[in-house]
């Protein structure tokens, strides 16, 4: 089961990413037609809660 992170605080003047960052470093947009977003929403329904974005960035969990 993947872990998810809230998006990082953006550089000044930039909008915050509308989505989440998966533990493998994938940026998943808030789009109901995106299958990764569907997986994330299912994870939330199963009581998952995204973590704050780590100060050093998300450590990758491995390449595909």
């Amino acid at each position: 089961m993947s872990e998810y992170y809230l998006p990082p605080v953006p550089p000044e003047g930039m909008p915050t990413f509308d989505g989440v960052v998966r533990e493998d470093g994938a940026w998943i947009p808030n789009d109901s037609a995106n299958r990764d977003w569907a997986d994330y929403t299912q994870w939330v329904l199963e009581d998952g809660s995204p973590l704050p974005y780590p100060p050093e960035g998300v450590p990758p969990s491995g390449n595909p």
Binding site: P10, A26, P60
Partner: protein, 382 residues
Amino acid sequence: MAIDFPNSPTVGQIFTSGGSSWQWDGVKWVAQASTPPPQGTPNKLLNPFMEIDQAHEGAAVSTTAAATNYIVDGLVIFINAGTVSGQRSIDVPPGYPNSVVTTQTATGTVAAGTINSLYQYIEADDLADTRLGTSNAQTLALAFWTKSSIAGTYGGSLRNAAGTRSYVFPIVISAANTWQLITQVIPGDTAGTWVTSGNAAGMTFNIALTMGANYQTATLNAWQAGNFLAPTTITNTMVTTLNSTFQLGPAGLWVAPQPQPLLRTSIQAELTRCQRYYEKSYDPGVAVGSTFSVGAANVIGGVALANAVPAVQAGFRSTKRAAPTITFYDAAGTAGKISAYTGSWANGATAGTIFGTTNLVSVQGTGTQQFINYAYTADARL
């Protein structure tokens, strides 16, 4: 006048007599369309010659979990018993570039809920001309090449995306390890609820390698309500046989009264179709996660303006089906990271933020970064 078919034909051989043609499928002569294919009957299947493999470039994909795993662009393997490895292959019927091969690398048992299958989603917008679910539903035709290490019966099916309408037909492989052409004409489904517009999945074309009783049916060659993927006569020994193999070669699904010739479009046309669902910044043939040199011509890069952070806006090669998942790779090939210059180049940096659409992605650097370089994948697959 008697028709004198050749003795000892080779698989794929075409024989013509009296204006009609037949093709030897390894077991029998199959009549070919006697008239040119009607205009406007494109192949509905994505990557029908199994040649585009952007994500893996021929490397094997091993799967054990019940999850959607793409072997090549457009083609999924889904299993929940044993372990299966799937990959692009150059073992093909005559005249074609590629097939896919699955190998049962660890066996499993057959339970009622077992699903080991190959399938392809078809986007709803690509089904508009089928008129499925209406009184004017059009006839569909399938043709595909198969080969298996185990002769026997497998399952072919079309199903609506909700899994409430199914059409199941047997795939009978008469001889092991021999390419065989399978054809099937399927009347349009005039009942049920079909989604034939929009960017969601509208239909799946499924080949059942092993299938539990929950998804088997004795109602063959007819549409029915329910979620069925295989005949009750399915052989079902693929999952219990170590190193058993199944191959799918060139395939076609058409709105047509009979199977059409498996005509190959251009490599660029097929790649562009595939990039609606998935693309990478790496060149074709270069594996995702390969290392690169910072500043190389084929790498995405950006530079900081005064009192700002680097920013890059890159257009996708093809408009995506939906807003895609973006994964960055640094010059060392590490997923989730970018390369950044802060007096010297270093890998393992992170992007500040991104925003994008189905057409482009804009990436911002952070802090003291002066230049950024990265490769990416954009994934909007069904």
